[in-house]
Structures are given as structure tokens and as C-alpha cells.
């Protein structure tokens, strides 16, 4: 009986509505917006952020990529296409004659970066890649190298004991100098 009376009293005095309005008023008075004014202020990216992919170079300006196709094999969405070929006159050394990435399909999983035996691929912290034409996201080797140049200004040294004709794999040697941060 009493609870029924209480419910009735709450109904006729709009108690629940008043509680709700007090809640909204509290937010108005203690105004703390969670909005980030995006183009003017940007989020701090986490350290492990996986952004735009890039091809890297050694400090002498030569490409790291040896055209082994492992990134193409690792890619789950077939973003990468590598056309490998021999370096002219050096039959033991290969390089990527053409290297394409269709970034419309890329899901930024980073598996190609893990798969690369010479650390020729890197993930940058770029994410503002909206374009007017979808075809502009189909990147060739020059574009990918340019992204790498602007995102990785500190380049890795080409090792002295590495023969220029031999592809050098980093998997077995844990004590080698790492990529510059």
C-alpha cells in the first residue's frame, strides 16, 4: 500500500524526469567536453601504432628490399605485388624491380613487416591518407620509398661484413644493430 502510494506520488510529481533533468543539468554546470577538435588537435598515438606502410633504405641510399616475395606471401589481403629480378651482372643478388601496394585493401596487420627478412618494410605513424581518387592509393615502389624517406630519417647502416652480392638475413643474428628509432 505504502509502496503503491510512493509510486503514485513519484508519478504525479514527475520524480524520474526531474532526476534525469538534474543529471543533464549537472553535466551542463560541470562542463568537461571529451571532444578532440580533430584537425586542430590530434591524438597522441600509441608507441606500437601501425600506420601507413613504407619501404626503407640503407644509410648509403640503396634499397633494402631484396625482392624475396615473402611479404607478398604473408599478406592476408593480397595488398602487395612484387616483381623480383636479378641485379644486372650479379646473378646472386636480386632486387624488387617493381613493388606495388594496393592500400585500399590493406588492413594494417603488420604481417609483411614481420615477414621481411631484411627489415625493408616499416610501418609509419601516418594515418591521414584520405584521397579523392581511389587509384591514388595504389602505390608503386617510388612512392613507398618516399614515404619511408620522410618517416624514417635515421637509416640503418649497411653492414660492413655483408657482401654486396649476398642477401643478408637478420633472423639468425639477434645482436645486430636495430632500426633507428
Amino acid at each position: 500500500m505504502l509502496t503503491k502510494f510512493k509510486t503514485w506520488l513519484k508519478t504525479i510529481t514527475f520524480y524520474e524526469i526531474l532526476v534525469g533533468m538534474a543529471a543533464t543539468m549537472k553535466h551542463l554546470l560541470r562542463y568537461k567536453p571529451i571532444t578532440l577538435q580533430y584537425p586542430h588537435e590530434k591524438r597522441t598515438l600509441p608507441d606500437s601504432y601501425r600506420g601507413m606502410l613504407a619501404l626503407l633504405r640503407y644509410d648509403d641510399g640503396t634499397e633494402k628490399c631484396v625482392g624475396c616475395d615473402l611479404c607478398e606471401a604473408a599478406c592476408p589481403s593480397r595488398v602487395i605485388r612484387v616483381v623480383s629480378s636479378e641485379v644486372p651482372g650479379e646473378p646472386t643478388k636480386r632486387f624488387a624491380k617493381e613493388y606495388y601496394m594496393d592500400m585500399t585493401r590493406c588492413l594494417f596487420c603488420g604481417m609483411c613487416v614481420d615477414a621481411c627478412p631484411v627489415d625493408a618494410l616499416g610501418m609509419t605513424r601516418e594515418y591521414e591518407w584520405a584521397v579523392y581518387d581511389k587509384r591514388h592509393l595504389h602505390l608503386n615502389k617510388q612512392q613507398l620509398l618516399a614515404i619511408g624517406d620522410r618517416s624514417y630519417p635515421v637509416r640503418e647502416k649497411r653492414l660492413e661484413f655483408q657482401h654486396p652480392n649476398v642477401a643478408f638475413f637478420n633472423v639468425a643474428f639477434k645482436n645486430l644493430p636495430q632500426k633507428g628509432s
Binding site: 524526469i17 534525469g20 533533468m21 543529471a23 543533464t24 543539468m25 553535466h27 551542463l28 562542463y31 568537461k32 567536453p33 571529451i34 571532444t35 577538435q37
Partner: protein, 358 residues
């Protein structure tokens, strides 16, 4: 002849000023609504146009002005063009009888004018009710003439809703009319002079608090605002009756909605909260010896009351979800209507037993 010309010129000047103020208020409201809603929901609201987003209404107005005016295929062109005008004109024409300030007269070229009241007709409140009802035609015709199912459904809902709640508005007002003994908004406001307990919301012999609650709820429903925004429920009906409208015609409906909000707020302030009267007798400026500027204080009090109601509209919108359609109808007919009728009965008995009120 000269007197007539002078009177007409003065009236036209008054109308121009009132229209300017209303349009300015609509502009402020469009920004204020987005800002207040944003602040209540931990957002910022518009921030890009001008400092702190203050020029957003101008940007919106320019955008709407230059947009393509589309008439959908199969639409009834005449009614499609007529509907926005039918919605806008009644919303603006009601302000003719609203007393914005004290009933004082000024003398210009030997003729007496009332500067704050465009026209003090003796059936003022009836005139407002009649014209706001015509506004429903604009919505229904706009919904029907668009040749779109969403528009039609929105228009139908709106018709039923406005008719249901118009009744409650009318009945809620009757209590005040019984106590004031007049239909003129000026006379009603004058009867509430003095301390704030003379306002009809608190007034003896019978406070009109129930009528006030019924009026406010019904006014929200009549202006199609949240939580009674079923005619333009965007999650169900795209945009309701103005789905097919674009450009300036859409802007007309938009201005009409905000104009109606201001109008019902003005009526609520004049009928229940004492209109231009301050909560204390007279005005503070007159006490301090600035009797010639007392009107400013009265106008500020009126504006403050109106803006309180307008803020209430935003506040409700930020808080409440939309009602279901059957809930809306049941609430209107089974709850609001009996309360309004009971209020009339009790007020009539009280007014009979204590003639002259206080």
C-alpha cells in the same frame, strides 16, 4: 488622415522591430540549442564558424538560402509551395498581441502610442490559439503534398497530435481566464502586478500550478519538440513532414518551429508568470529614481521569463527519449485532459466563492 498615416507608420515600425527581434531570437536559438545540447552531453557543439562557433547561424542561413529548391516528382506543386508559408505566417502573426513590455503610452506628434504592444485586442489569447491551429494546416498539407510516405505519416501524426494537445492548451488557459476575467493578454498581465505570489501560477484563491504544468507539457507537444517529436521522428520517419523540403522552404518550416517555441513561451510567461511584471511590486529602477527607464526592467523580466522557457525546451530535449505514439495519445486524452478539466472546475468554484481573488 495624417493621424492615420502616423499610426500606420508607427505600427509598421513596431512590427518591423518585433519581427527583427523574433528572427534574431530564432538565430540565437538555433545556435543555443546545439550548444546547450552539446554541453549537456559532454560535447562542444559547433566550434568551427567564427570564434567559438558563434557565427554558425549565419553560415546555416546562407547555406539554406543558396541551396537548390527541389520539388519532388508527383508533388502537388501549389500546396507544396503553400505549406511552408502556411506554417510560418501563423507562427509569426501571433506576436501581434503579445505584450513585450508595460502598458505605458508615449506621445509622438500629439498622438498616443503604446510602444511595447503592437495591438491590444480584447480577445488576444483566443486570436493566438486560432492562429496556432492554422499552423497545423501547413504541416499536414506539407506532408500530404510531398508525395512521400514518410512525409504523409509525419503529417498525419502531427495532425492528431496538434489537435489533441491544442485542446489541453485551451483548457489549461481557461483557469487563468476565469481568474482574470479577460481574454486580453495585457489585462491578464496587469492583473498579476505586485509580488510574485500574484502571478497566476501561485495566485490565490486557487493556484494555477496544475494548469501551468498541463500548459507547458501541451506546449512542448504542440511545437513538436522532444519528447513529443513524433511528427519528425528522425529514427522512424527520416524527418517527418518536411522530408522532401530543401533550401528556403525547409528554412521556413524551421523558423516556424522556433517561432512557435518563442510564441508559446511568451504566452506562458504572460499568462502564468506575470509577463513583464517583476517578482516585486513596481520596478527597482523606478524606486531608484529612474522612472523613465522602468520599461527596460520590465522588458528584461519578460525576456528572462521567455528565455527560461526556451531553455526548458532544450533541457527537456537533452534529457528525455521520445514517447511511443499510443503513449502520447493516452497521456494527452486520459491524463492531461482530466487534469485540465478538473482545474477548470475547482478554479470556477474558487473564483465564485472568493470573487475578486485576493
Amino acid at each position: 488622415m495624417a493621424e492615420l498615416a502616423l499610426r500606420m507608420a508607427f505600427s509598421l515600425a513596431q512590427i518591423a522591430v518585433v519581427m527583427g527581434v523574433i528572427m534574431l531570437t530564432v538565430m540565437i536559438l538555433t545556435l543555443a540549442e546545439r550548444k546547450v545540447l552539446g554541453w549537456m552531453q559532454d560535447r562542444m557543439g559547433p566550434m568551427e564558424v567564427g570564434p567559438y562557433g558563434l557565427l554558425q547561424p549565419i553560415a546555416d542561413g546562407l547555406k539554406l538560402f543558396f541551396k537548390e529548391d527541389i520539388v519532388p516528382a508527383g508533388a502537388n506543386k501549389f500546396l507544396f509551395s503553400l505549406a511552408p508559408i502556411l506554417a510560418l505566417v501563423p507562427a509569426l502573426i501571433g506576436f501581434a498581441v503579445v505584450p513585450f513590455g508595460p502598458d505605458s503610452t508615449i506621445e509622438l506628434f500629439g498622438i498616443k502610442f503604446k510602444p511595447f504592444i503592437i495591438s491590444d485586442i480584447n480577445i488576444g489569447i483566443l486570436y493566438v490559439l486560432a492562429f496556432t491551429s492554422i499552423g497545423a494546416y501547413g504541416i499536414i498539407l506539407g506532408g500530404w503534398a510531398s508525395n512521400s510516405k514518410y512525409s504523409l505519416l509525419g503529417g498525419l501524426r502531427s495532425a492528431a497530435q496538434i489537435i489533441s494537445y491544442e485542446l489541453n492548451v485551451g483548457l489549461a488557459i481557461v483557469g487563468v481566464l476565469l481568474l482574470a476575467g479577460s481574454l486580453s493578454l495585457v489585462t491578464i498581465t496587469q492583473a498579476q502586478a505586485g509580488w510574485f505570489w500574484n502571478w497566476y501560477i501561485f495566485a490565490p484563491p486557487f493556484p494555477q500550478i496544475f494548469a501551468f504544468v498541463v500548459y507547458v507539457i501541451s506546449a512542448v507537444a504542440e511545437t513538436n519538440r522532444v519528447p513529443f517529436d513524433l511528427p519528425e521522428a528522425e529514427s522512424e520517419l527520416v524527418a517527418g513532414f518536411f522530408t522532401e523540403y530543401s533550401g528556403m522552404r525547409f528554412a521556413f518550416f524551421f523558423i516556424a518551429e522556433y517561432g512557435n517555441m518563442i510564441l508559446v513561451s511568451c504566452i506562458a510567461a504572460a499568462l502564468f508568470l506575470g509577463g513583464w511584471n517583476a517578482p516585486y511590486p513596481g520596478t527597482a529602477l523606478a524606486r531608484l529614481g529612474f522612472a523613465q527607464f522602468a520599461w527596460a526592467e520590465n522588458v528584461v523580466w519578460f525576456a528572462a521569463k521567455v528565455y527560461f522557457f526556451l531553455f526548458l525546451f532544450f533541457w527537456l530535449r537533452a534529457t528525455l527519449p521520445r514517447l511511443r505514439y499510443d503513449q502520447l495519445m493516452r497521456f494527452g486524452w486520459k491524463v492531461m485532459l482530466p487534469i485540465a478539466l478538473g482545474n477548470i472546475l475547482v478554479t470556477a468554484i474558487a473564483a465564485y466563492l472568493f470573487p475578486g481573488g485576493r
